[in-house]
Symmetry: C2
Subunit: 190 residues, 2 copies
């Protein structure tokens, strides 16, 4: 294990750090946005924000765990949309963050990890990329409802895979996670 980790390349290490920073901030933004949605009378959108905050926690934890062999202080450079406001505006910020991760950040990070042959980082980036695609879609749906002054309908629960952050709305989680293969019983419902 130690020998495997000592081969972690400097560039990939920095990308893991930046992704840890980005996911930690995404998690935090969604907790702030959930509080505001609750106050504005959109309880299902609040639930969606809380559930996806947990998915981002899964991503942050996965990235951070790849760095386990170190004991150093590092500097992270990561992007964040700013300007919390109404739930409509917050959904706009959320969509922008997710779309950046889907279209720019994770594809490049994934390619870099693959090129440098760091399979643990590649897996962690791939799990995040696949989940973010679903987040972007769900936030776009939520914004359509909120912009009509309505809460988003949620039949059942928002289910999160605690291994990869896969996000699914339904009465029951899928039998197996389509991203990582985890079994139904592992999902956490919100």
């Amino acid at each position: 294990m130690v020998s495997e980790m000592s081969e972690l390349k400097a560039m990939t290490k920095q990308l893991l750090l930046n992704a840890f920073g980005g996911e930690s901030m995404a998690h935090m933004r969604y907790l702030v946005f959930a509080e505001i949605a609750e106050k504005e009378g959109f309880p299902n959108v609040a639930r969606l924000f809380k559930a996806i905050a947990f998915a981002e926690q899964v991503h942050a934890r996965n990235h951070y765990n790849v760095l386990r062999e170190y004991n150093t202080d590092e500097t992270v450079s990561a992007g964040t949309p700013i300007g919390p406001g109404s739930t409509s505006k917050n959904l706009e910020l959320a969509i922008r963050g997710e779309e950046f991760e889907v279209n720019e950040m994770y594809p490049v990070y994934l390619e870099a990890a693959r090129y440098q042959g760091v399979s643990e980082a590649e897996k962690s980036f791939r799990f995040a990329l696949e989940a973010e695609k679903i987040h972007a879609k769900l936030y776009r749906e939520a914004k359509e409802y909120v912009d009509q002054g309505r809460d988003m309908p949620i039949k059942g629960k928002v289910w999160i895979c605690p291994v990869c952050g896969h996000t699914y709305i339904g009465e029951e989680p899928p039998e197996r996670c389509p991203i990582c293969g985890a079994s139904r019983s592992m999902y956490r419902g919100f």
Copy 2:
């Protein structure tokens, strides 16, 4: 409100952003460390990590809220200790992070906000600085127990002020928060 915020100086704005990034990562690290402490059989240390994770959430939310008039994408530069491992090692990382905030980061951020006359930022940095002093002390105490193979004794609960992140161990929270003046009934217990 809009006119007040449009006076937010560029330097202070960047420090708020960096502090938002730093607090978001501290929150996330402590959630990761809490899970590990739980598994290692240190339930009270896990509780301490979870409670302080919430205090860092309060700090991150306060910093982020000062930026409410914007609708832009920004880049954050923030430090984080890396290398999650045993609870003893994690407490070492936690102490290092808190001590950096107490001795270097927040005193400088506070001075910059004061110098630029941004009172909302000054308040947000001051709340964090005062709470981090307590965090550093509590983590040092916890590490002494863990390094003897013992869980930290906690009489009562770990209480967090949801306005400023003040952290207090006892049967009851204080009548008034010594940092921000919030009343006893507002505290959240862990």
